[in-house]
Subunit: 319 residues, 2 copies
């Protein structure tokens, strides 16, 4: 099975006939300029044994790789457009697994209205490794950046936080104290995140700065603070939580430390943004929760019902 067979059989259909892909038969893709728009580009990689679990199917791996990249575009208020894929197949991967990988990617590309424009397939003596370059469009000059939060802004986060990190614990066989339906919901969230592309209009209209929540809410909020040269104050009692996360939290001895853990776990793929206080109602309508504020200074400080909490103490298992 040569690289050319793989590309022709597995990946050419994923161009969905886009002329820019040149049928995946050329050295490169060619993307016409779109006057009035900027191209937003992000690139993430995943590695077997590091970023996914032995039980993840090849389809899940491909779909998660796509979704983590789309999460970056979502946070930038960009409209996803196309992707490039490089994949290194391990020696022991079979034809069926390669087909499943391509089928998973095809399913999600179609769901999100994207096309594959090019890339590379190689072999590796190591684990399955893949990188995706995702391209999106945004009206010229309108991309929402990390570096543009201002003191006086409020801090908001979309959806719920902590489910990704608990989902990883569940997928690794932990959280046996939870019901099996809660464990399944958390695992599904970890394995197949939902990029928040639905927030685009709200971010364009209201956000002064934003980032996606992939490394953990506190870390990613901190990235906004660092890039913007501002400090952030977070009220951990406002952390939005899903029912399974609430069920877990109810059994924790130290509520403040457990919330720091939830706010430090990764893989939520929500969006954290700053906005003027008067945008609060519109952002709430769009699914954001207000969780803090932007201040002069630097760093992230947190409180829990008014009591200061050390956010560097991230390990609830060690408290």
């Amino acid at each position: 099975m040569s690289e050319f067979d793989d590309i022709a059989r597995l990946f050419r259909p994923l161009a969905f006939g886009a002329p820019e892909a040149l049928n995946l038969q050329d050295d490169a893709a060619v993307i016409p300029s779109r006057p009035g728009y900027d191209l937003v580009v992000t690139k993430d990689a995943i590695v077997g044994g590091v970023h996914f679990l032995p039980g993840d199917t090849p389809a899940d791996i491909a779909r998660k790789l796509l979704r983590v990249n789309l999460s970056d575009l979502a946070a930038k208020a960009a409209e996803p457009y196309a992707v490039f894929l490089a994949v290194a197949w391990p020696a022991d991967i079979g034809e069926g697994a390669r087909e499943t990988f391509a089928a998973g990617l095809a399913e999600d590309l179609q769901m999100f209205g994207l096309v594959l424009l090019g890339g590379d397939t190689v072999s590796t003596p190591g684990p399955l490794t893949a990188s995706l370059t995702a391209l999106g469009w945004v009206e010229a000059g309108r991309m929402v950046r990390r570096a543009t939060a201002r003191p006086g802004d409020r801090l908001f986060v979309s959806g719920t936080i902590g489910g990704g990190g608990l989902g990883l614990q569940a997928a690794q066989g932990g959280l046996s104290e939870l019901s099996s339906s809660d464990r399944l919901r958390l695992m599904k969230r970890y394995r197949l995140p939902e990029p928040r592309l639905d927030l685009r209009a709200a971010l364009l209209a209201h956000a002064t700065a934003s980032a996606d929540v992939s490394d953990g809410f506190l870390a990613d909020a901190g990235h906004i603070g660092e890039a913007s040269g501002v400090g952030l104050e977070v009220g951990l009692e406002r952390l939005p939580l899903s029912p399974p996360v609430r069920a877990w939290l109810g059994a924790q001895p130290d509520q403040a430390a457990a919330r720091v853990w939830l706010a430090s776990a990764g893989d939520d793929y929500e969006v954290v943004c700053a906005a003027r206080p008067e945008a609060a109602a519109a952002l709430a309508q769009a699914g954001f929760s207000e969780i803090g504020r932007v201040v002069e200074g630097e760093g992230v400080s947190a409180t829990f019902h008014g009591q200061s909490v050390d956010v560097r103490r991230k390990g609830w298992t060690h408290t």
Copy 2:
């Protein structure tokens, strides 16, 4: 050493202050549209133990990864603009090796006038693995494709052929019959190819179709034929050869078979193109050799001084 330290310390300088990179502090890069130009995008990956040798330095690996991508842009007559890098560091790589990788990339980015706009660094239990996404600009509608060769065109190839493949043999300890200076020249060609960005004006002016020579001259010419729906006739006696390759060829018992091997070995990173017969003088001036012609039909057929040669018999070691 976290991902953020790596990015800040090793890779941020490689943006050379480009505003599109947003200081490598954001979720994505933002590329303004360039009216009147198309964006040409290519993406290649390399894996330790597959695409580079144990003796290759991290600097050489980074530079070769960049150059094989630039070779694709060169064949498309695109002006290189920017790159995105994803790199998976193996567990045993030291800080010095990571710095050397970044320094090699920095050296070549600067030499070719490029900027790093983003990417990802991760860890891997496998070998060093990296993918590069390279972006270039070309005047709107002017990218030279593979699928546009026409019967009646002539076939041309730039530079010399076979040195990459022999360089790999030399780097693996072979070719002891050659002088050490010839072996060194071949190895250098293999380790650090020169993308033919100097051919841009000639390709734009004259080429009807083109591809880079990475998989082997006959294979890459064949890609043009296949994409264009035409056949190709190649005269192997016209294969342009460098002095070390001539020295090797002089000692081969079967000249036709040896030339098939040279024309089938990869890693030359030259450009094969089709053009109208009247462009021959201008293309010769630009460094191309005329080597055959485009005909009705399909497939690549070859002759050596008028005698038909089976190009499927690629292994000179087996003759």
